[in-house]
């Protein structure tokens, strides 16, 4: 996917090639042995939240390698070079956290980008910004794109409360991924 095509994903006209593809990538059913990419958008507590979720998935669902990635800016979709790297290295992406207007929209846009590239993706926003996430999905021609919403706030929480947010997120993440098998 070229940079211009990625940028066109923010074009509400949907003129870009593939901009109205609303087909989910194939669901994995099981996570056992899969490489999971954690895409941190640099918002406070994103890393911790993603790590807690990944720890749950490692313990209970047998995920394989965990790869960490960091966006350079939370308010826009992932840059093309990093996008292509992630697509080439992982089986599944989990990205967080959309706890503001622009970052929730971008987090959902990232999820749609990865889904259209064939990578099952869980985008995580806070519930206060569900509307901006859903609006981005609508604008991108993927109104049925499902994402995880955890209770707002996220940025100001301590470790214990982030642990709680992760517990909130995991069941929905599994549902979105179509996973039922516990190891």
């Amino acid at each position: 996917m070229t940079t211009s095509m990625r940028e066109a994903l923010l074009d509400p006209t949907g003129a870009a090639e593939g901009a109205n593809d609303s087909t989910l990538s194939p669901r994995p059913v099981t996570l056992k042995g899969l490489t999971v990419g954690l895409l941190d958008n640099t918002k406070p507590n994103s890393t911790l939240l993603l790590d807690e979720i990944a720890a749950d998935l490692k313990r209970d669902y047998g995920i394989g390698e965990i790869k960490h990635y960091v966006k350079d800016y939370f308010g826009t979709p992932v840059k093309d070079e990093l996008f292509r790297q992630i697509v080439s290295e992982v089986d599944i992406v989990i990205t967080a956290v959309g706890d503001c207007g622009s970052c929730s929209a971008a987090t959902v846009a990232d999820g749609i980008l990865f889904e259209r590239a064939g990578i099952p993706t869980v985008s995580i926003t806070s519930d206060s910004f569900a509307m901006s996430g859903q609006a981005m999905a609508d604008v991108q021609g993927f109104p049925g794109f499902q994402f995880v919403m955890v209770q707002h706030p996220v940025a100001s929480l301590d470790v214990e409360h982030i642990r709680g947010r992760a517990d909130q997120a995991v069941p929905d993440a599994l549902r979105i991924l179509g996973v039922t098998e516990i190891v």
Partner: protein, 80 residues
């Protein structure tokens, strides 16, 4: 005025969402059946957190559906 209440009600949840990032949402009627939504930054607003205009427009247009009004346009800080 019931219509005013209806638009206020329709935009209430989004107004709360905007306030979380430090923005104030107001609206005004234009031409009898259209609405202009204006977003202003309060002191300490998160400049990088503002929803992109296409997304904002999509949210507002959808929110106004049940009110009988159509969205004319959205004015973001710096554009008015």
């Amino acid at each position: 005025m019931s219509t005013t209440v209806s638009v206020d009600h329709a935009l209430a949840s989004f107004r709360e969402m905007m306030a979380t990032d430090g923005y104030l949402l107001t609206w005004s009627e234009v031409g009898g059946d259209k609405v202009v939504v204006k977003i202003d930054a309060s002191d300490g607003a998160c400049e990088d957190c503002l929803v992109p205009l296409p997304v904002m427009t999509s949210i507002m247009a959808k929110a106004l559906d049940p009110t009988g009004y159509e969205l004319d346009h959205v004015e973001l800080p710096g554009s008015h």
